[in-house]
Amino acid sequence: MAQTVSKERKIIVTVIAWSIGIALFFPIFWTILTSFKTEAEAIASPPSLFFFDWTTENYAEVQSRSNYFGHFMNSVVISLGSTLLGLLIAIPAAWAMAFSPTPRTKDVLMWMLSTKMLPPVGVLVPMYLIFRSVGLLDTRIGLVLVLTLINLPIIVWMLYTYFKEIPGEILEASRMDGASLMKEIIYVLTPMAVPGIASTLLLNIILAWNEAFWTLNLTASKAAPLTAFIASYSSPEGLFYAKLSAASTMAIAPILILGWFSQKQLVRGLTFGAVK
């Protein structure tokens, strides 16, 4: 900073920024708070902020009435599975694009990005019918496959921008040193790209965890992840605020934590490396 900012100004900025931050965060805060109230207190008027009987019974109840854990595991399997599968397919592709570019590489990347623009409803009907006829409807495998395809362009793009930052000379050095292509990728590229691969992994887990079109339309109960489970609270159970809050808190907590750790990578991944 070139100029020293006056203390008054800094305090004013702090107050305004904190107010806005708290206002934006308030719905989440309120949800978490409500999850520790009894149903009666949750709709009490005036609402109580901290002075109520804290209870965890809602959490127990959500689990006992609806197999919350099953849905949680569905979310874990689907988001992790689709991300790992996506990485497996995308790492070689990103390697090729970053280190053996052709005049068409940019076009291929843009084309991949354009597949993201295909609105999901454009293919909803055939996907539903195909899944129904091959028995993939309401299965984890089915969702893993669809979410892999959906996020593949983002994974390739992200890895590509990370790989691009690795100097090609280092890979050439390994070739001079006698490494085969496999060894080059295993011993040299991958260890150097670990931070990039990790952030790609993180971002895609977040995206897959929160995906709410295909998870809602291609599952019913068995394979339903948390997005679909929470949607079942839309009526009339949603009027049980405390339980809705407990279920919601459990659904968002893991991603909130992951997301806070990966803010920077989030920006980069979601902008296809255009903003760093």
Partner: protein, 290 residues
């Protein structure tokens, strides 16, 4: 750094990604096109017959379509306005020196990490509900009649919910871009006697243009297909007041089982998205080259 060996290997390694995405684009999409020309309802299996453009003419002349088209655009434009202008303002604010900047950042980014169904239900029940919602209580506390947001202004309510989720995204990206602005440049402008306002107009804003483009592109992709928020709050209602094209096609397909009609709607959605994408890709494509 390319020899025949590496080039051949490169092609081989790109093949899975390219082929999978190609299949993902072509197979379902051509099926959709095929279905859109059929009279095909899941409730009447075996009655499929060629229908020509009937599905399209039905879909395109349905008053619900125009309402949905309008709503789709309203959601995109409404949310974009709120998030881009709000995002710039917030990013500028967060770029100032303050106490606890890291914590404020964490608070601001949080809504983006919330799954859409949770966001929508929390807003619907705990805030916008006319009986037990927090807004109703606030209204009563200051002596006003509680307002039933989702019944009386469903579209606006949905725009607010979606904007709440996307404002952090815009802010975060614009803030990142802002922080990469060269301090020297701002100082040079200051030396040249530029006021704070002209520094913003001539230096900061041009620097942000690329990030703003990206925000608009990415958000448009997602906003054209807003679905979960509508499904769990209004179910597109009352009537079709908050139905967008995505929701309309979903209702046609999975509520009325009209495969032909829904497919025609899907194709219309694809064409619309392509029109939008055409302009966006040109914009962003240029920006991404650099």
């Amino acid at each position: 750094m390319a020899t025949l060996h590496t080039r051949a290997a490169a092609r081989l390694m790109m093949a899975p990604s390219v082929l999978l995405l190609l299949a993902w684009m072509i197979i379902p999409l051509s099926l959709t096109i095929y279905f859109s020309f059929l009279r095909y309802n899941l409730l009447m299996p075996g009655m499929e017959e060629w229908a020509g453009f009937t599905n399209y003419s039905f879909f395109l002349t349905d008053p619900a379509f125009f309402q949905a088209l309008f709503n789709t655009l309203a959601i995109v434009v409404g949310v974009l306005c709120i998030t881009v202008f709000g995002g710039i303002a917030l990013a500028l604010l967060l770029d100032q020196p303050m106490y606890g900047q890291g914590i404020v950042r964490i608070l601001v980014i949080a809504p983006f990490l919330i799954m859409p169904t949770v966001a929508a239900l929390v807003w619907k029940n705990m805030f916008m509900n006319p009986v037990n919602g927090l807004f109703a209580w606030v209204a009563k506390a200051v002596g006003l009649q509680p307002y039933d947001f989702l019944s009386n202004s469903p579209l606006l309510s949905i725009i607010v919910i979606v904007a709440w989720q996307w404002l952090p995204f815009a802010t975060l990206i614009l803030l990142t871009a802002l922080q990469s602005l060269d301090e020297d440049q701002k100082e040079a402008a200051q030396m040249d006697g530029a006021s704070a306002w002209s520094r913003f107009i001539y230096i900061t804003l041009p620097h942000l243009s690329r990030a703003i483009t990206v925000v608009i592109l990415i958000q448009t992709i997602f906003l054209l297909s807003v679905f979960a928020e509508i499904l769990v709050t209004t179910n597109g209602g009352p009537g079709t007041q908050s139905t967008n094209i995505t929701y309309l096609v979903y209702a046609q397909a999975l509520l009325q089982f009209d495969v032909g009609g829904a497919s025609a709607g899907g194709i219309v959605a694809v064409i619309l998205a392509n029109i939008v994408a055409f302009f966006l890709i040109r914009m962003i494509g240029k920006n991404l080259e650099a």
